[in-house]
Symmetry: C2
Subunit: 146 residues, 2 copies
Amino acid sequence: MSDHRERLKLAGYKLTKARLAVLQVIEHADGHVTSADVLDGVALVDPAVGRASVFRTLDLLTRLSIVRPTYIGTSATPYYVLLPGGHHHHIICTVCSRVIEFAECGLENIAILLEERLKVKLTGHLLEFYGQCADCQDKIAVNNED
Amino acid sequence: MSDHRERLKLAGYKLTKARLAVLQVIEHADGHVTSADVLDGVALVDPAVGRASVFRTLDLLTRLSIVRPTYIGTSATPYYVLLPGGHHHHIICTVCSRVIEFAECGLENIAILLEERLKVKLTGHLLEFYGQCADCQDKIAVNNED
DNA sequence: TTTAAATTGATACATAGTCTCATTCAGAGT
DNA sequence: ACTCTGAATGAGACTATGTATCAATTTAAA
């Protein structure tokens, strides 16, 4: 947890109140948070922190692969997911927008392969599957029965 | 290509001018397009198509896993990527926002495993790696030399 | 051709995110 | 502890992205 703070420091960024507040909010909200959620949370944790700084921090955390914005449902605003250990994996139901997380990915080998071949340095990844969850398949099946 | 049109039909959606225009624009713009790009493109292809329909169609294509919005760089607006064959894979440089695409993913096995275990029906996926491209690693190395 | 439901375009609107700039603050050096 | 400097901030006006409404049109099936 507090190693996120470590990462900021190591990368040469100051541990300001604004950044600490945003980190605290995101870490405590396990799962997927919108910028609005973060704004609300920060307003409680430290009301002195301004709007712009929240957005600036979300950008920064994204650049450091601590967090990753992703598009869920029809919402126009991104959801930010923590990338603990640099990665995250989930399934998004394209009907009801439910998010189902899962652990395994077995992508280490591909990562190493890509690093060698493309001379890139990889710090994280996100794997998203799209489809229909069990409930939504049932609904569709029922609808098609008439 | 025109099997996207097929997919719309099969899913019970009408092939309207607005939808055809959006599809045409996205298919011809190989790579990553913002909604602004699509709006501009559609204005050329069929000026009668309205703003709202473009957004509605982007939503629809997302729900059908024909396209997937993803956040690149600090841009607040998503880039839409085609998911040909239902999937897409790329590396995003967190420094310069360059996007490097790659082909392999070897995720079929995981997909099958997840479908069985979670009773979901998967129609597509997106795999994103984050890190620094070759050029940006060089720049950082140079900066640290003084 | 007729018809009904789906879809649309226009436009006004809401909201998310950005920019600017004077002020403050974190943290390194002493 | 004190000072100093550039990094970071907050306020708030501003821009632009996406949404809602609704009468009018269009698709496609009968």
